[in-house]
């Protein structure tokens, strides 16, 4: 009898671990991120983990992170998109030309008119989605490998952007448009707290309703203390994030200009925090939406099924060709959205915008655990991957690591991250 005690013990321990539903791989990534932050913080004498740097890190991450979330779907369906940086450039060029040349020139709209920014953004999103859909059609219906279509796309869209602008830098961009750039468009302290509170409320409600749903079906649930601690941790992270962004205060000169613009005089000793940048808010919206799409919609389910076994997906009646079109159309849309953020952050459209972004985006998705064999990947992983890459890059820049060494380190990290992932999956006994 005493012999049988051991295996039983082992299984209960494993099922306790499983019942907590701890995502060990997410935990590992967060751990790696925290270690990176702490190391850089030490080497920069505490400059890395300041509100100012965290603020900058987040707005620098947005563009790549938005595209990385779409790249997850592309790679999960066993495709690749090498042209996202180039597509971003074309979308950016279209939006820049729309607001600076087409609308004022052709429609005679005055520069600074309220309708310029929304029209330009709509035009960009439309162009990005259509180009993406067209590439998806070539891949899905014409059965040209995605590698080839998007490699061609890389050359084509990079140079369509050049052609559209004649190679000129277009700027400064419309001031409403620039609201998506980061420092030029933040929500302010009060609204940021309100948003943070709403986010916390949604998290708590979601946890609660998921638990109630499981209980109503008599499925096993996590112990209550685990559920509550998870909720507390998430709420703490959200509020901590908001507090940090609110703590980054606008420079005096900028505040004075704001008061001057309103025709008021700035009171002595006045200060104001930036709060949540609109671009980061956009990223969070994208992240939540894409996560819901991947886990809770048929579209998302079919993406993962197709990546896991394309034949079985077809035999199950899934139109995998049209699915490919939709996945690449979504990728194109997200490239355009990234173009809004990237160009408005720079306050102009330059010819080299988005150069090498395709590699950063793919690397972010892969560091985030997206498997090239298809069928595996998460949105939060990709976004965390983008954040880790950006942290490495700006951390090394702050420490004063030579430029070539920076890229060498990032490249090595990419390979090591995938290696760790492979070892981890082998241990787990699941196929990658």
């Amino acid at each position: 009898m005493s012999d049988s005690a051991r295996p039983t013990d082992k299984t209960t321990r494993r099922s306790l671990f499983a019942s907590l539903e701890i995502d060990t791989r997410l935990l590992g990534m967060i751990g790696a991120f925290v270690i990176i932050c702490i190391i850089f913080n030490i080497f920069t004498d505490g400059r890395f983990l300041t509100p100012r740097n965290i603020f900058n890190l987040t707005i620098q991450t947005v563009s790549v992170a938005i595209m990385a979330s779409g790249m997850v779907f592309v790679i999960v369906t066993r495709h690749i998109d090498l042209g996202v940086g180039a597509l971003l450039a074309t979308c950016s060029a279209v939006m820049a030309m729309t607001q600076k040349a087409y609308l004022p020139g052709l429609l005679g709209l005055e520069l600074g008119h309220w309708a310029i920014a929304p029209t330009a953004i709509l035009a960009g999103l439309l162009v990005g989605t259509l180009i993406g859909a067209f590439q998806g059609w070539l891949i899905g219906y014409m059965t040209i490998p995605a590698f080839i279509v998007t490699l061609g796309g890389l050359l084509i869209w990079r140079n369509v952007a050049w052609y559209l602008t004649g190679g000129q830098t277009i700027g400064p961009l419309d001031e409403h448009f620039q609201l998506f750039g980061g420092t030029n468009g933040t929500l302010g302290v009060g609204p940021s707290w309100v948003l943070g509170a709403i986010a916390c409320l949604i998290v708590i409600l979601a946890l609660f309703s998921a638990r109630r749903n499981k209980v109503s079906h008599d499925f096993p649930v996590k112990p209550l203390w685990a559920e509550i601690s998870l909720g507390v941790i998430i709420v703490a992270v959200i509020l901590g994030f908001v507090a940090t962004l609110n703590a980054y205060e606008m420079p005096i000169g900028r505040l004075r200009r704001m008061f001057d613009a309103r025709g008021e005089v700035m009171p002595e000793g006045y200060s104001e925090g930036y709060g949540l940048p609109i671009s980061v808010f956009v990223l969070l919206l994208v992240a939540v939406t894409m996560t819901v799409v991947s886990l809770k919609t048929r579209f998302g389910r079919y993406i993962f099924a197709t990546g896991g076994n394309p034949d079985s997906a077809t035999l199950s009646g899934i139109n995998t060709r049209f699915l490919t079109v939709k996945v690449f159309a979504l990728m194109g849309f997200l490239c355009a959205l990234s173009a809004v953020v990237a160009s408005s952050r720079l306050t102009n459209h330059a010819n080299d915008i988005g150069t090498l972004d395709e590699l950063r985006v793919i690397a972010a998705a892969v560091i985030g655990g997206t498997a090239f064999a298809g069928g595996i990947g998460t949105i939060y992983g990709a976004i965390l991957g983008a954040l880790i890459m950006q942290s490495l890059q700006s951390g090394m820049a702050m420490v004063g690591v030579d430029a070539p060494l920076q890229n060498i380190v990032v490249g090595a990290v990419l390979i090591v991250a995938v290696l760790i992932d492979i070892i981890y999956r082998k241990r787990l006994g699941t196929k990658a």
């Binding site: 389910r301 997906a313 035999l315 899934i318």
Partner: protein, 249 residues
């Protein structure tokens, strides 16, 4: 009694090769028809014409005496034709219930996939087919061959199939699991479901099937009642292409 399915003069060629050459075959309710032949005889292609995975070049498919159009797997499912493929056609990265409902997900009122309800339904049907099955939240790549098979079978049975195509359902199974499948086939028969059984094992065909259709090089050699012939007779049809009328009585 009216036939459930009538395949009439079905042909399908790949390039110059006639994979299926003017084959006609009926299936009655509650009947099991074995489809036999060497690899490349055309039995799988013929069945895929019925399941919608392959489009026939010519010929008609009738269900309950009415001609139907089956151009893709969705059409076949609409006519309650379900297929258990030899490869099982499971998405390895998804769990049992996601596979069971793949392409036919249950949704909430808002249109989101209802995982909880699908898992509940999966637990119900698996409780019937394979009571020892426990791994409801693991991807099916983590399951044993028998467990994977039962997921594939559950997928076909759950949706009230009238016509079931089983492509070598016991090829990868141990003796105990094979017996379970045999039992299940008897149960489905008694419910009036018609079953096409692609099989290599003549002994098993004798046990499970009512009739056997033998194919060779894309052509139908003949259809026999398994009670009226010996295993050797069936083998002679498969190997030598001997017509039923030439078999020693």
């Amino acid at each position: 009694m009216k036939p459930l399915v009538e395949l009439r003069d079905i042909s399908r060629a790949f390039g110059g090769i006639k994979a299926v050459d003017h084959v006609s075959l009926d299936l009655y309710p509650g009947e099991v028809v074995g489809v036999l032949g060497h690899n490349g005889a055309g039995k799988s292609v013929l069945m895929k014409c019925l399941s919608g995975a392959i489009q026939r070049d010519s010929g008609k498919i009738l269900i309950d005496g009415n001609e139907v159009q089956i151009n893709n797997p969705r059409d076949a499912r609409k006519h309650r034709i379900e297929t258990i493929y030899q490869t099982l056609a499971l998405a390895d990265n998804l769990d049992a219930s996601a596979n069971l409902f793949l392409g036919r997900e249950l949704t909430t009122r808002l249109g989101f996939v209802n995982d909880a309800q699908m898992e509940a339904e999966t637990r119900k049907i698996m409780g019937r087919l394979n009571p020892n099955f426990r791994k409801f939240s693991a991807p099916v790549s983590a399951l044993s061959g028998g467990q994977r098979q039962s997921v594939a079978i559950a997928r076909a049975v759950y949706f009230d199939a009238r016509i079931l195509i089983m492509d070598e359902p016991t090829a990868a199974l141990g003796p105990q699991e094979t017996a379970m499948v045999a039992e299940l086939i008897q149960e489905l028969k008694s419910m009036g479901i018609g079953i096409f059984l692609i099989d290599h094992d003549v002994h098993q065909v004798k046990q499970l099937c009512d009739r056997a259709a033998v194919m060779k090089n894309g052509e139908l050699i003949g259809i026999v009642k398994v009670d009226e012939v010996t295993e050797d007779d069936i083998l002679a049809m498969i190997i030598a292409g001997k017509k039923p009328e030439h078999l020693a009585a």
